[in-house]
């Protein structure tokens, strides 16, 4: 298992660019999750409203 941890640490370090690469992907992930969540919440909200009316 030793090689696995070595590889993992190398991957996380990103050749010294970790503090640029990971925030870039992290930011994109947050924005994308938010972008999917918002319209799905909106859809449920509309349906709930319509169910109440009927």
């Amino acid at each position: 298992m030793h090689w696995f941890y070595m590889e993992l640490i190398r991957f996380i370090n990103m050749g010294g660019y970790a503090r640029y690469v990971w925030p870039a992907y992290g930011f994109a992930l947050v924005i994308l999750l938010f972008s999917v969540y918002m319209p799905s919440r909106e859809h449920k909200k509309i349906l709930r409203k319509l169910r109440k009316e009927i």
Partner: protein
């Protein structure tokens, strides 16, 4: 003609979007999973930029798609203006926040890439400035989508604004050739060979397809909401809600 009328009916387009959504979601998930694993683990580091170049797999797809989303919106705006198609007006409204998100990711990841490679987070060069203007245009379109008073007139105004704003697209694309920019030229080219090694290109194309499907999914979800809300008083929505009244737990999205 009858076929198009059928396609444009709110009921049909609502149902069609619902059927498309899982497909787009799964294609996006698988291609992005492949793109990320290949791009972040397997592809060897760049000979100049080391592992820092791996930001390309999120930056370039989002930047490219920020232009594509606008192009789609411009076509929709034209359809809305010429044929007064309500669905096209809705597509413009639904697309603007999606394009804004793509542009925002492109700008932020570009900034995070610029710092180690150029030594600066931001520079007022033509490519970066025109992309920032694109973000402002998207935000302006979102602003033109909020008011509900006199809908058709507002839609006309919005569509005209979208078409005028599309003048920015060629400026963004050619900015790296017209001006002396710090930003590098295009990596990908449709007409000629791309300036990237094949092993690095594969995950990039996967990420473009994956994020493209994801942005399409988000846009269609927004479009579906607009259709549903607009036709809330119509017979098919009443019927649809009534028949789905008891299985609201099944509604995932």
């Amino acid at each position: 003609m009858k076929f198009f009328k059928h396609l444009l009916s709110p009921k049909y387009s609502y149902e069609l979007i619902g059927k498309l959504m899982p497909w787009l979601g799964w294609i996006a998930a698988f291609t992005m999973l492949y793109g990320l694993v290949d791009g972040l683990f397997i592809v060897p580091p760049d000979y100049q930029q080391g592992d820092g170049f791996r930001i390309i797999y999120i930056h370039v797809p989002c930047a490219f798609l920020s232009l594509m989303i606008y192009a789609v919106m411009a076509i929709a705006a034209l359809l809305g203006l010429v044929w007064r198609i309500k669905l096209a007006d809705f597509a413009v409204i639904a697309g603007a926040p999606v394009g804004a998100m793509a542009t925002l990711i492109a700008l932020v990841t570009g900034s995070l890439w610029g710092k180690p490679m150029w030594g600066t987070w931001w520079v007022w060069d033509a490519r970066l400035t025109s992309e920032l203007i694109l973000l402002f245009i998207y935000i302006a379109i979102m602003g033109l989508s909020t008011g509900l008073a006199n809908q058709s007139q507002q839609s006309r105004l919005r569509n005209i604004f979208v078409l005028v704003g599309s003048l920015n697209l060629p400026i963004i694309h050619y900015s790296v050739y017209w001006w002396n920019t710090l930003h590098q030229g295009s990596t990908l080219s449709v007409t000629g060979p791309s300036h990237i090694a094949l092993v690095m290109l594969r995950p990039l194309l996967a990420m473009i397809i994956g994020l493209g499907c994801l942005f399409a999914l988000i846009g269609l979800m927004r479009l579906r909401n607009l259709i549903l809300w607009e036709s809330r008083k119509s017979q098919w929505v009443r019927l649809w809600v009534a028949t789905n009244k008891n299985n609201n737990k099944k509604e995932v999205l």
